[in-house]
């Protein structure tokens, strides 16, 4: 059991609003963890704390044994090992698909442009968008943009991938293509934390599901346990609304 992420008593306060109220969890290498919960429950904030996009108010997050929120931590080095995919894709609109993917590997990893190019090539084949290599993001559909965003994150060869509601901004017919890429990634053994409303995906791909509500992990377990035999009343209430 090879722990890569450890969260201890994580709290997050926005002014007087307590968004996270003490979250503990541990994620092993190659594990796929889906985080579900009602909107405003703190699940996105939790995810953003994992790579330090959000400060912690209390508690700590350890990634590979390194404390994410310690001021002495080289947060850039840490983040280069943690890929992140956003709800709104956040591709760089002034750069082509190729440039989006090669930017960080050349600047942060010091790859030559030839090396970065061939890596981008491979990844675009993987997400099925090689023909869009010279397109600009605004020439792509939402699903295509999200697949490019996944390729961009993977180009850093991260050990962990975080997904923040990656299909929530997509038209329904494009959700499948993005989930397929994510499923393939999970099958390759990538460690993944996925905040999602796609219960079907969570059930099928996740090793473990966390149900977060009001800033706490209310219940966690295998998809079968959590979806079919929820123990907590709040979990049951939530599931009855979304399933």
């Amino acid at each position: 059991m090879d722990e890569v992420i450890r969260v201890e008593g994580l709290t997050k306060q926005f002014g007087t609003l307590a968004v996270l109220r003490g979250i503990d969890c541990s994620i092993r290498a190659s594990e796929v963890v889906c985080v579900i919960g009602p909107s405003g429950s703190g699940k996105s904030t939790f995810l953003r704390c994992l790579n330090g996009l959000e400060d912690a108010s209390g508690g700590q997050v350890l990634v590979g044994g390194v404390s994410v929120h310690d001021p002495k931590t080289d947060v850039d080095a840490l983040r280069s090992e943690i890929g992140m995919v956003f709800q709104r894709f956040n591709l760089f609109p002034h750069k082509t698909v190729l440039e989006n993917i090669t930017l960080a590997p050349t600047k942060v990893r010091g790859l030559s442009s030839a090396q970065a190019h061939s890596r981008a090539h491979e990844l675009l084949v993987k997400v099925g968008l090689l023909d869009k290599i010279d397109a600009y993001p605004n020439q792509l559909s939402g699903g295509q943009q999200q697949r490019v965003a996944i390729a961009r994150a993977l180009a850093m060869q991260p050990r962990i991938m975080l997904f923040d509601e990656p299909t929530s901004a997509l038209d329904p017919e494009m959700v499948g293509e993005v989930l397929a890429v994510m499923q393939a990634l999970a099958e390759e053994g990538m460690t993944m934390v996925v905040v999602t409303h796609e219960m079907g995906f969570a059930r099928q791909v996740a090793d473990r599901v966390l149900f977060i509500d009001e800033g706490l992990v209310v219940e966690e377990g295998t998809p079968a346990d959590l979806f079919d035999r929820p123990q907590e009343e709040r979990t049951r209430r939530f599931l009855s609304k979304v399933l």
């Binding site: 790579n51 956003f86 956040n90 930017l103």
Partner: protein
């Protein structure tokens, strides 16, 4: 020289006689404008970033507030809140002599100071005042441009392990620059026109040339109409350059 009348009233011979003066004035106006655009943009970038400086942890947090944001805010407020004309006079007659003075200049003194003041005094003061003034306005353009970029862009870049300066340079500024071009263009045009105020401290640029000619002949239509046309052509040229830049940097932009 023989009088040459255009349309029965325009003494073209006056302009021809002073062609060299107008030509030198034009060169000086262009030189001052270019220097101030370049320096003002660099200054504006620095000040604009300083006004946005934030850090998470002490002591960098306090440093950003007191050593960067506050001085930058005061600077911008002062130079936007006082007339450029007054700034030029203040810098030429009060600030510059403090630093460059034959007797006790803080920066340069002695014979060098005397020569410098005599030959380049108006030029230095004028360029300094115009740069400081333009820097204040341009910093606001940078600040607005940077703030207009979606937070998600910064987050995406940082999540890839890109440092803050790299994120600024490769992700935020190129996008902000596209949006800043129209206001920067307007600012450059203002700068070009405002450079005429430096004639008040005796810099031989276009407006100074016109005043000289007007004084010599007691005729006002000819010199001032001439430089008006020259300014107009210059501002049209600047507007054209900005338009082309906008088209060039517009790639990938959705709006």
């Amino acid at each position: 020289m023989e009088q040459v009348l255009w349309f029965g009233w325009f003494r073209a011979d006056i302009i021809a006689e002073y062609a060299v003066l107008f030509w030198r004035g034009l060169q000086m106006t262009i030189l001052v404008t270019l220097i101030c655009i370049v320096q003002g943009t660099a200054l504006g970038l620095g000040v604009g970033m300083a006004r946005l400086a934030e850090a998470r942890h002490a002591p960098a947090r306090q440093l950003c507030r007191f050593a960067l944001r506050w001085p930058a805010t005061v600077y911008v407020s002062f130079f936007r809140g006082t007339p450029l004309f007054v700034q030029i006079l203040l810098i030429h007659f009060a600030v510059l002599p403090l630093f460059i003075n034959p007797a006790d200049g803080l920066l340069i003194s002695g014979e060098t100071a005397r020569n410098l003041k005599q030959n380049y005094g108006a030029f230095l003061s004028g360029v300094l005042a115009l740069t400081l003034n333009a820097g204040a306005y341009i910093s606001e353009i940078f600040r607005a441009g940077i703030q207009s970029i979606d937070r998600g862009q910064v987050e995406a870049s940082r999540s890839l392990g890109m440092s803050f300066p790299r994120t600024m340079f490769h992700v935020v500024l190129p996008q902000a620059f596209r949006r800043m071009l129209p206001p920067l263009g307007n600012n450059a045009i203002s700068l070009l026109k405002d450079s005429s105020l430096i004639s008040a401290i005796g810099l031989a640029e276009l407006a100074y040339a016109a005043r000289t000619v007007a004084g010599a002949y007691s005729r006002y239509w000819e010199p001032y109409l001439t430089i008006s046309l020259m300014y107009w052509v210059l501002t049209l040229g600047l507007a054209y350059v900005v338009k082309n830049l906008e088209a060039r940097y517009g790639r990938g932009d959705t709006r």
